[in-house]
């Protein structure tokens, strides 16, 4: 071996490689660090006030009058819950239908048209969705059903549309991940397409579909601008589908620009509640899709 010279060059390269690995490791921790920093800041800003006023009065209090130091988040928690539930009622059936059509029924050409359109749906800014709600949906609801129009119903419909891309894309992935042999086996046994979907594909893709719904839920809970524009924002527990409602996200966005002192802290506390809800949903979605990955 024409030894030393080559060896020295190589050792330099190797040392560089170790440096690169270290640098990349540091970079790779950026996402985690950001997560940690966000958690620290939101929680750090938001929790002291929760304990000062008592967790119970904070979470279960029904009055939100910051000027009088009443910080009850219950109406907003219920509001987010209602709107999200409504969005799922609208979004899940439509989303799953699209996913099934895309994977099982559509010809390649039709798929080539529908898929980009649905991906476009994901790209439209949420303010545009909110705007469409204000211009078209809200007046329609006001005229047909009465009430102010800005309502749980309006927010549910718009959010239902907004979560479609999430539900569709993840469901499509998990339906496509079902081994073709399952499909062929079922068809060979004389099952119709629909029976195959119902009895073979859905059960096989179940965990992926559940994950898609949970992630869609996360999107609905977290959506801000569209809900502000169409939900009415009254800080009261809604008594009907047509009543205005304020979500946790709206609560933050509406008052952040002028809040000071304890009021601002209370808004951060709202952020903490939101954060906890999202983290729980993420963890569940992660766990279900991890299970899916482990399946052979």
């Amino acid at each position: 071996m024409d030894g030393t010279a080559k060896k020295r060059v190589g050792n330099k390269l190797e040392r560089n490689d170790r440096l690169v690995r270290l640098a990349l490791l540091v970079i790779a921790f950026s996402a985690v660090s950001v997560l940690v920093v966000i958690t620290v800041f939101i929680v750090g800003q938001g929790t002291p006030i929760m304990f000062r006023y008592g967790l119970k009065s904070f979470l279960a209090g029904t009055s939100w009058y910051p000027s009088e130091k009443l910080f009850g988040l219950w109406p907003m928690i219920v509001g987010s819950l209602f709107v999200t539930a409504g969005a799922l009622v609208i979004g899940v059936p439509f989303g799953l239908s699209c996913a099934i059509v895309l994977t099982e029924f559509a010809s390649k050409r039709v798929r080539g048209i529908i898929k980009p359109i649905i991906e476009l749906l994901a790209g439209i800014p949420s303010v545009v969705y909110g705007f469409m709600g204000v211009i078209i949906l809200v007046p329609f609801i006001r005229k047909t059903f009465g009430g102010p129009g800005l309502s749980v119903l309006a927010a549910s419909i718009i959010l239902g549309i907004m979560i479609l891309p999430t539900i569709i894309s993840i469901s499509v992935d998990s339906l496509q991940a079902v081994p073709p042999s399952y499909r062929e086996g079922s068809i060979a046994l004389g099952a119709t397409r629909w029976q195959t979907v119902k009895m073979v594909l859905f059960p096989a893709a179940r965990s992926g579909i559940i994950a898609s719904i949970i992630l869609g839920m996360g999107r609905a809970v977290g959506e801000t601008m569209a809900t502000i524009m169409i939900a009415g924002n009254a800080a009261e527990v809604p008594h009907s589908l047509l009543a205005p409602v304020r979500t946790l996200t709206s609560n933050v966005a509406l008052e952040m620009s002028y809040a000071t002192g304890e009021h601002r802290e209370a808004l951060f506390a709202t952020g903490v509640v939101l954060f906890v809800i999202i983290m729980v949903l993420n963890t569940i979605a992660n766990a279900t899709s991890a299970k899916r990955r482990k399946q052979p």
């Binding site: 071996m1 080559k6 060896k7 060059v9 190589g10 050792n11 390269l13 190797e14």
Partner: protein, 253 residues
């Protein structure tokens, strides 16, 4: 160790996790010979090649026992520079893998990596390597077309030229003609016969006739063990071990 021994393998075992893929191999490769390695599928032939250039290191959970010396230097010694080692042992894989770029850039890969820029120098290296690989005449007018556009046999010779451009001392071939037609196979074998004047070649093949045609000596692997090694003529006419005989007569594998 005599001077004409280039690679010396002693008690070498390769593990992937718990699986022992090579079992205590003892063999030598002589300088400027073509050593053919035959054996049924999954008998450890390719693993042996990848032990020589330490490509096995890239597999998760791989470890080994025993020693391999190349030019007297223990290649698994912690002080050894793996990168320099791999430059000494060029490898051709079973399926031709041209990188998705032009013929020229494929061959110039190693040179460019070394920071060689001058067009004339690069041209020289590329031409030289393609000539040695026996591909120059066929591609000299279209060096800028994609390497993926060549036929399978041409792609494989392109891969050969690409390693020659790095100026190795050894060439490892892993079933280089397994997917090729007889004419392409013949061309590659011609190149190999020419190349052994300058290089030491280890040729893994699943085609026993190929070993008979080009190898100086032949080794027979079975289930990760070396059954026997010897002059090709002897292995093919009067092997010592009945298992070799059975394999060559097509009784298994």
């Amino acid at each position: 160790m005599t001077n004409d021994t280039a690679i010396e393998v002693r008690g070498f075992s390769q593990y992937f996790g718990e699986v022992r893929k090579l079992k205590a191999l003892d063999l030598d490769v002589k300088r400027n010979e073509i050593l053919g390695i035959i054996g049924p599928a999954r008998s450890g032939k390719s693993t042996f090649l990848c032990a020589l250039n330490r490509l096995n290191d890239l597999v998760r959970g791989s470890h080994h026992e025993g020693t391999i010396r190349i030019d007297g230097c223990d290649i698994y010694d912690p002080g050894v520079d793996v990168v320099a080692l791999r430059r000494q042992l060029g490898m051709v894989f079973a399926t031709p893998v041209p990188l998705p770029r032009s013929i020229f850039e494929n061959v110039a890969f190693g040179a460019r990596r070394e920071g060689i820029r001058g067009r004339t120098r690069l041209d020289g290296i590329v031409r030289d390597s393609l000539e040695k690989g026996g591909l120059w005449e066929e591609v000299k007018d279209r060096l800028e077309t994609s390497g993926l556009k060549l036929s399978g046999g041409q792609q494989q010779r392109l891969c050969l030229a690409r390693i020659l451009a790095v100026a190795p001392e050894y060439i490892l071939l892993d079933e280089p003609t397994s997917g090729l037609d007889p004419i392409s196979t013949m061309k590659i074998e011609e190149s190999l016969r020419r190349l052994k004047k300058e290089y030491t070649i280890v040729l893994v093949t699943n085609n026993t006739k190929q070993a008979a045609r080009v190898a100086d000596r032949t080794a027979f692997f079975l289930n990760g063990e070396l059954v026997e090694i010897g002059m090709t003529a002897k292995i093919f006419t009067a092997p010592d071990d009945t298992r070799t005989d059975d394999y060559l007569r097509g009784r298994f594998g």
